[in-house]
């Protein structure tokens, strides 16, 4: 069991309240996922040619100032926004170079995400603890994808927490379990995808990223996934412009959507949506199985 939450703000005036609206949604899914949780937030894009890279280090005593000064030496110009053991680096460099540099020089530092819009936080602990650790309440942006995890098939570690990312400005969270992540992984590794955890969700994330970067649009990629994925899933996915939701053909895992003129909110259960402003007049529905739902930032 896991919990999924998503929020896309149609009303630009609400964007500075994205985190404040989202934290009760995430905390509302604690019973579904008390092990770990995470959040991908999509903000206004940084300028063309710049990239944001979200970094995480599990060592609480990690020497971030030294890391930052060495990274500046390697990257040239860079800005750092650090909270606890998490840091967002804004740089002109190709994120792949920063990733390779970290892997060689600082293997304890993990690249959680890269892109012009995405910031990603994930860690072990109750959703309320993770939210407080990284100041989720203060986050602002256009849309977000969040997750609370109850681990079933891989260990409770920060790497195995969701959201997962691949490439740039792409993330996915998962409620369910896949029966064939190993064969998907072997197929994708041959095609050059590099895995960083042993979680079944990473196989789904990288599979869809592979299809999207091969030219499929999201609908076509998910049609292929219905054939190639063996298992149960509700996936919530984020790109720079979109939130997308899909449930497996048996609809084994729940999802509820509430839509108003101000926002689209998605959660595994209604109790995570009950506090939202205007919820009593929202259009509330259950997404149908094997149907792709997508909402765009306006």
């Amino acid at each position: 069991m896991c919990g999924i939450v998503g929020l896309l703000l149609k009303d630009a005036a609400l964007r500075h309240r994205l985190g404040e609206l989202m934290v009760p949604m995430l905390v509302g899914m604690t019973e579904r996922g008390p092990d770990s949780s995470g959040m991908a937030v999509f903000t206004d894009s940084v300028a063309e040619g710049w990239r944001k890279v979200s970094l995480y280090c599990g060592d609480p005593a990690f020497d971030w100032p030294r890391f930052e000064s060495e990274l500046v030496g390697f990257l040239g110009e860079a800005q750092f926004d650090r909270k606890a053991n998490h840091c967002i680096v804004t740089t002109r460099t190709d994120p792949a170079r920063a990733r390779d540099w970290c892997a060689t020089r600082y293997p304890l530092v993990h690249v959680l995400s890269a892109g012009r819009s995405i910031d990603l936080y994930k860690d072990v602990g109750l959703p309320s603890e993770v939210a407080q650790r990284y100041g989720f309440e203060e986050l602002s942006g256009t849309h977000l994808v969040g997750h609370t995890r109850m681990a079933t098939e891989s260990a409770v570690t920060p790497e195995n927490a969701h959201p997962y990312t691949a490439g740039e400005d792409w993330c996915l969270v998962h409620n369910g379990s896949l029966a064939n992540p190993g064969s998907l992984r072997r197929k994708l590794e041959k095609l050059g995808e590099r895995f960083e955890s042993d979680c079944d969700t990473e196989a789904a994330c990288r599979y869809l990223h592979w299809r999207l970067s091969s030219g499929d649009d999201l609908e076509v990629a998910l049609e292929r996934a219905f054939v190639d994925f063996d298992g149960f899933f509700t996936f919530l996915m984020g790109t720079r412009e979109k939130l997308a939701l899909v449930r497996d053909p048996f609809a084994c895992k729940p999802a509820v959507v509430a839509e108003t003129d101000e926002y689209v909110a998605i959660a595994s259960e209604f109790r995570s949506l009950a506090h939202l402003p205007g919820i009593r007049n929202a259009a509330v529905f259950e997404p149908k199985p094997a149907q792709v739902y997508a909402w765009s930032v306006q």
Binding site: P249, F250, A251, E269, F270, A274, V284, K288, P289
Partner: protein, 231 residues
């Protein structure tokens, strides 16, 4: 919580679900209607009741609302999560909005009314209750249903009535596909009476168009060694 003559109000912003359910399982002489405010999708609301009381849930309910109900009338003035009225024995459960998956699963008796759509597996393993759905039902509804009746005013999705036993399904809309061993049979006058009675009891206006009767062909009742597992 406030008390009025024959009436009780539980506000779940101030009381817990456990307090509500313990009250509903207690001595209820003189209490007619219990109103539940701010349910906000909470799980297991009004489960395991066994008194002829009325519970009005003013909002959306989470998982297993009114499960195992006996005698009571429970109305959800909103949507219901998975497993509403599962294993109901008697009484009446109404959902004014939509119901998620597994509505009325293995219910033995009583009447479940869903005014909106029902999700997947509605009436799975039904054991004698009646279910009336004002909208459509999701895939695999009435799977292995043994007794009772399921009325669907809208459409039915894939695999309707798969491996049916003696429950009977009536569908007014389109049936996307029937499950193994389910077949459409002619409507008799008795069937029409049954549909009319159940719609009246549910307070749902008859939809346009003729109902179709779906029942078991009973070909799975006996093991057929020659079928080679192909049904």
């Amino acid at each position: 919580m406030s008390q009025m003559t024959g009436e009780k109000v539980f506000d779940l912003e101030r009381s817990s679900v456990r307090e509500l359910n313990q009250f509903l399982h207690g001595e209820l002489t003189g209490v007619g209607t219990i109103t539940v405010k701010n349910p906000d999708g909470a799980h297991s609301l009004a489960v395991g009741l066994d008194s002829p009381i009325r519970v009005e849930i003013e909002g959306h309910a989470g998982y297993y609302a009114a499960g195992m109900n006996q005698q009571a009338t429970v109305r959800v003035h909103g949507n219901a999560g998975p497993g509403v009225a599962e294993n109901m024995m008697s009484g009446r459960v109404e959902v004014n909005g939509f119901a998620s998956g597994g509505a009325g699963a293995s219910a033995h008796g009583g009447l479940l009314v869903i005014r909106g759509d029902a999700g997947l597996r509605c009436g799975i393993s039904l054991k004698g209750a009646d279910i009336v759905v004002g909208g459509g039902v999701g895939s695999f509804s009435a799977f292995m249903a043994q007794a009772g009746r399921l009325i669907v005013c809208g459409d039915a999705a894939e695999g309707l009535g798969d491996s049916l036993y003696e429950a009977v399904i009536y569908v007014a809309g389109e049936i996307r596909s029937l499950g193994a061993d389910a077949r459409i049979e002619p409507m008799t006058e008795r069937d029409r009476d049954a549909v009319r009675e159940l719609l009246t009891a549910a307070g749902i206006a008859p939809p346009a168009g003729e109902f179709k009767r779906v029942a078991s062909a009973r070909s799975l009742y006996h093991w057929n060694a020659d079928a080679n597992q192909a049904y």
